[in-house]
């Protein structure tokens, strides 16, 4: 649900037909419908969960409900005697918030750098792309681990480092798309009217590379969810006693046989969310590819 709305929000000042066209084309693919349904379901749980949790369990998710591994409530208690269902309901909010923030940071920064590199060309382009090569030679998770080793598992650091490591990847896509439209007549015309470069980037180039950027938003959101959940699972992301899906899987996996819900519920939620956003990205990619093919022929 959010994955569809974010792009609309940051695409102000564009001809509306352009946008609704891409989304309408994408909506024709079954992936878009399934993806929206899955994403909406998990987002709903993550957003309403913190309110629903205490209603279901009668207390806060970090409190102790009773003895360990007792079938209290619907899903029972975990190894520390906390209610599994209420912890599950509360566990998606932070993950989702961090993932959206990291994606936003990565897309904005990456699109900006990519557009500048692609439009200006020359030395600046070479420099930015070489810097990219260096950043791209680490797996994202490993860079995040290096940063966490130095600074510690802080929330802002997770958002910052995942966002920053997204940026070079998005920049490559934005640069390629910019190079493809750079020499079109309407850009030449704007240049001849002495429109400032910044304005050309925002008003002429940005509206024409939204297709690839939408796909990037979907993809980066999928990866952000994966990385932040993975780091929490490793015990190096969101810290206890906060209820979090990644962390829950780590806390409960030893007791998988006794208390399977503690692992199954968060695994299922992360899986559905990641698959949902990925299906959305795929439908947008198919729609964007179809449109370029139409304009070419």
């Amino acid at each position: 649900m959010t994955a569809v709305e974010i792009p609309r929000a940051d695409a102000e000042g564009e001809p509306p037909t352009h946008h609704s066209g891409l989304f309408r084309t994408a909506w024709a693919f079954p992936q878009a419908k399934i993806g929206t349904a899955l994403t909406a379901l998990v987002v709903l749980v993550a957003v309403l969960g913190p309110w629903l949790g205490p209603l279901v369990a009668g207390h806060e998710p970090t409190e102790f409900a009773g003895k360990p591994f007792k079938p209290v409530g619907i899903a029972g208690t975990d190894g520390l005697g906390r209610d599994v269902l209420s912890r599950f309901l509360a566990g998606g909010t932070t993950l989702l918030l961090y993932a959206v923030l990291a994606t936003a940071l990565g897309i904005v920064l990456g699109a900006l750098l990519g557009m500048i590199a692609g439009y200006r060309g020359g030395l600046l382009d070479s420099l930015l792309m070489r810097a990219n090569d260096v950043l791209l030679s680490f797996p994202q998770l490993v860079i995040a681990l290096l940063a966490i080793a130095v600074i510690g598992p802080k929330g802002w650091l997770l958002v910052l480092i995942i966002g920053l490591t997204h940026a070079p990847r998005t920049a490559l896509v934005a640069r390629q798309a910019t190079v493809a439209v750079r020499d079109h007549d309407y850009i030449r015309a704007a240049e001849m009217y002495a429109v400032p470069r910044g304005q050309i980037l925002v008003q002429e180039i940005l509206p024409n590379i939204t297709g690839p950027l939408m796909v990037e938003i979907g993809l980066r959101l999928t990866y952000s969810i994966g990385y932040i959940a993975s780091l929490s699972f490793l015990g190096l992301g969101i810290q206890p006693p906060t209820a979090d899906w990644g962390l829950m899987i780590n806390e409960n996996r030893i007791a998988l046989v006794v208390q399977p819900w503690g692992v199954l519920l968060p695994v299922l939620a992360i899986a559905l969310l990641a698959v949902g956003t990925n299906l959305l990205a795929d439908s947008l990619a198919s729609a964007a590819a179809g449109r370029t093919r139409e304009t070419r022929s």
Binding site: V134, L141, S230, A274
Partner: protein, 318 residues
């Protein structure tokens, strides 16, 4: 052509050097005094300054960087703050254990991915293609640990009890002595990278099969199998080599989470332990190692790409 390969090699070396610079900066950003961290809060100022001297912390930054870099070349990766021993001793056996995992995963994932992608492309639009594309799209979205946990639930605990969910070997014993414990980690890694390889192979093959030269071969009456083997597949090698390389490089990152999940005694687990204990020397060593593998694999992919591109071949012949 050899000039292009040489240039690509030089770029890799520069990137590797910049990466080392980046990793070194991590030491400088570390809050607090490493000497105090090692000796603890009760240490006397004299002992701290003695250790600072011993660790060369009083030297200028550039000299510390050069010493550290020189150490890397002579096989001295520094001292682990948590074990107090050399980092090389800590990582020695773990590197081979991780390599076992990586090589097994790569040997399985690459042919499976290429075969599935080709099959999917040949059967484009039919049920086979739609099944392969759909399943790979779903699996590609899942984080490594989600796939791993799902496999544990299915094959190790709740449903079937076929394979162990943790590594059982005692420290020092080679991991391949008990092959059953390798199954789930390797399958997890294969499931992580195969979808990407298959999807890319399908896209590339679709493009190649639509090309003029394939149509020409078909019109000449060349049997479809020969068209595929002689005319189509060689053209897919270059672009697919890149994706395969990126995925193999991805494995070196994915192995970190998978090793943690299965308690596998490799460098990934060492990395997680070191991050949790803020043991920066170990983190730097493993990061640099992974980055080096990444760079080398990408270099090899680009070289394959250059060798496989017939246009570059003729340019060199001129």
């Amino acid at each position: 052509m050899s000039r292009m390969i040489l240039r690509r090699l030089l770029v890799s070396l520069v990137v590797l050097w910049l990466v080392s610079l980046l990793v070194f900066v991590a030491t400088l950003l570390l809050p607090g005094d490493p000497a105090r961290a090692i000796l603890g809060q009760q240490a006397t100022p004299e002992r701290i300054s003695a250790l600072r001297h011993q660790l060369h912390l009083d030297d200028p930054v550039w000299k510390r960087y050069l010493d550290w870099l020189g150490g890397l070349f002579t096989g001295d990766l520094g001292t682990s703050t948590s074990t107090q021993g050399p980092v090389t001793a800590l990582l020695g056996d773990r590197i081979s254990a991780s390599l076992v995992l990586l090589v097994l995963a790569a040997v399985l994932a690459v042919p499976i991915g290429l075969a599935l992608g080709t099959w999917s492309s040949v059967r484009r639009g039919r049920a086979t293609d739609q099944t392969i594309s759909g399943v790979s799209l779903v699996i590609a979205a899942l984080p490594e640990f989600v796939i791993g946990v799902a496999l544990i639930v299915l094959f190790s605990t709740t449903v079937f009890k076929l394979f162990p969910s943790v590594t059982l070997t005692t420290p020092g014993e080679p991991v391949w002595r008990q092959p059953a414990q390798l199954v789930l980690p390797v399958v997890t890694l294969v499931l992580v990278v195969t979808p990407y390889i298959a999807r890319m192979m399908r896209a590339t093959m679709n493009e190649v099969l639509d090309s003029g030269y394939v149509e020409m071969a078909r019109l000449k009456g060349v049997p479809e199998r020969v068209v595929l083997r002689r005319h189509a597949l060689p053209h897919a090698v270059g672009p697919v080599a890149q994706v395969v390389a990126i995925q193999l490089a991805w494995l070196t990152g994915g192995v970190v989470v998978v090793e943690f999940l299965f308690r596998y005694p490799g460098i990934g687990q060492a990395l997680i332990d070191a991050v949790a204990k803020r043991d920066v020397a170990v983190v730097q060593a493993v990061t640099l190692l992974i980055a080096a593998v990444y760079i080398v694999v990408n270099l090899l992919a680009d070289v394959v790409g250059i060798l496989a591109n017939p246009r570059l071949r003729t340019e060199a012949g001129r």
